[in-house]
Symmetry: C2
């Protein structure tokens, strides 16, 4: 008779984190959310705010090219745009661009709305005791202004912003920090985001990426960047939540 | 010995238009251009102008969904959006939405720039004696304001706007009217546009669609809608103009 293999919980030699101690068969699911374009409808305002900042610095760049860079670290974005346009990457100029963008975005903040289903999806996860956190390439100040739009209690939710990690997306640091703050193995999580940078960061962190079309990117871009599944927006994801191991 | 087949020019019974009279083998190439997102970088301003108009009417709609409708007839766009949101399609409301959009767009017109290579591409076609025209779902007034940004002489160029045809894109009427005004068979033309509506209208008109990514749509969307080729923007198209039968 073959020996039964010990379960993870019964075997002290397996190095699984504490979160799995009570879970014998399936991994504990957790969701790590990007913010802009994923929970709030703010991508197009960010795009035009960057366009305004770049134009003010005399840098002419097509708007769709800016759109395709949104969601990555602001420092990386300005570095890349300056390098591509052949302009000098002076720290003072990068700082000025980021300040101009931040001011221009805040002027557009009145137009920003939560995405359909964002509040319902997050409330469902909370009530189903499925851990979730937010991880954004933005700064805490602007992130808080956007998060307030969703209108749910965030007091027990880890919010990881660019201020807390050395490298923002497409580096995996933000999502790794979010998983750590939940006490969950990053490899057991779903990373939900609207941009290719979220999907690439998910891959580097060995998480599964869930793409949302609500940031205005193409389905193919998200799939090619490694999305495990792609949905329209948070409402559409919630309709399919059972497919992600989160049973209602 | 087999009889030689007569060429088009030698056979008076073929009903080819006059433009082909001097052309024995290959068809005369012509280019029919969409305007917003194809020659000028105005799609994102149109998107946020529609968002502002809809919000003013109490209609909440995600911005990416508006983006995916830009480029089609404004009447069709409002019809579709109202139908999808379950609101009543009253003619007065549609008129109000279109007026609000037009006002909101004009406030953003200062930010609108020509797309890279637009002036160079059009000047090349003119100097190469390749006929070209513009066909836009927009109205003449806003079209003229955007066209002026390109900064080239348009006095001999047919500009077909929504005012001149019964149905705008994705109906083929605008492109058919543009080809007629050039005296060219529509089936011999390339239709250059940034949206799926341009590609669908091109198919219905039996033209070949050339997609540009400069409107912010995904490559897959344009290819699935029937694009024969997809380029980044007018500058990228000009680099590949030889592939389209327009030799330098």
């Amino acid at each position: 008779m073959p020996k039964l293999r010990p379960t993870a919980a019964a075997n002290p030699r397996t190095k699984r984190p504490a979160a799995f101690a009570s879970c014998r068969v399936s991994l504990q699911t957790a969701f790590l959310f990007d913010l802009d374009g994923t929970l709030v409808d703010s991508v197009y305002q960010h795009v035009l705010a960057w366009h305004e900042a770049l134009t003010a610095e005399g840098i002419e760049l097509s708007i769709w090219r800016i759109h395709r860079r949104i969601g990555m670290s602001g420092g990386l974005l300005t570095n890349m745009l300056l390098r591509e346009t052949g302009l000098e990457i002076e720290p003072a100029r990068i700082e000025r661009l980021q300040r101009l963008h931040s001011e221009a975005y805040k002027r557009r903040l009145d137009e920003v709305r939560p995405l359909p289903g964002a509040a319902e999806l997050l409330s469902f996860l909370t009530s189903a005791r499925i851990p979730w956190a937010v991880a954004t390439s933005g700064r805490l100040e602007t992130a808080n202004l956007a998060l307030a739009k969703i209108g749910i209690d965030l007091s027990n939710v880890p919010i990881i912003t660019r201020d807390q990690v050395r490298f923002a997306k497409p580096d995996p640091d933000l999502f790794i920090a979010a998983a750590e703050s939940l006490g969950i193995d990053i490899a057991a999580t779903f990373v939900v985001g609207d941009s290719v940078w979220d999907m690439l960061a998910a891959q580097r962190a060995r998480a599964l990426g869930i793409g949302l079309l609500s940031g205005g990117y193409g389905l193919d871009e998200l799939e090619r960047a490694g999305a495990y599944r792609v949905f329209d927006d948070p409402a559409h994801l919630l309709q399919h939540i059972d497919e992600l191991g989160a049973r209602r």
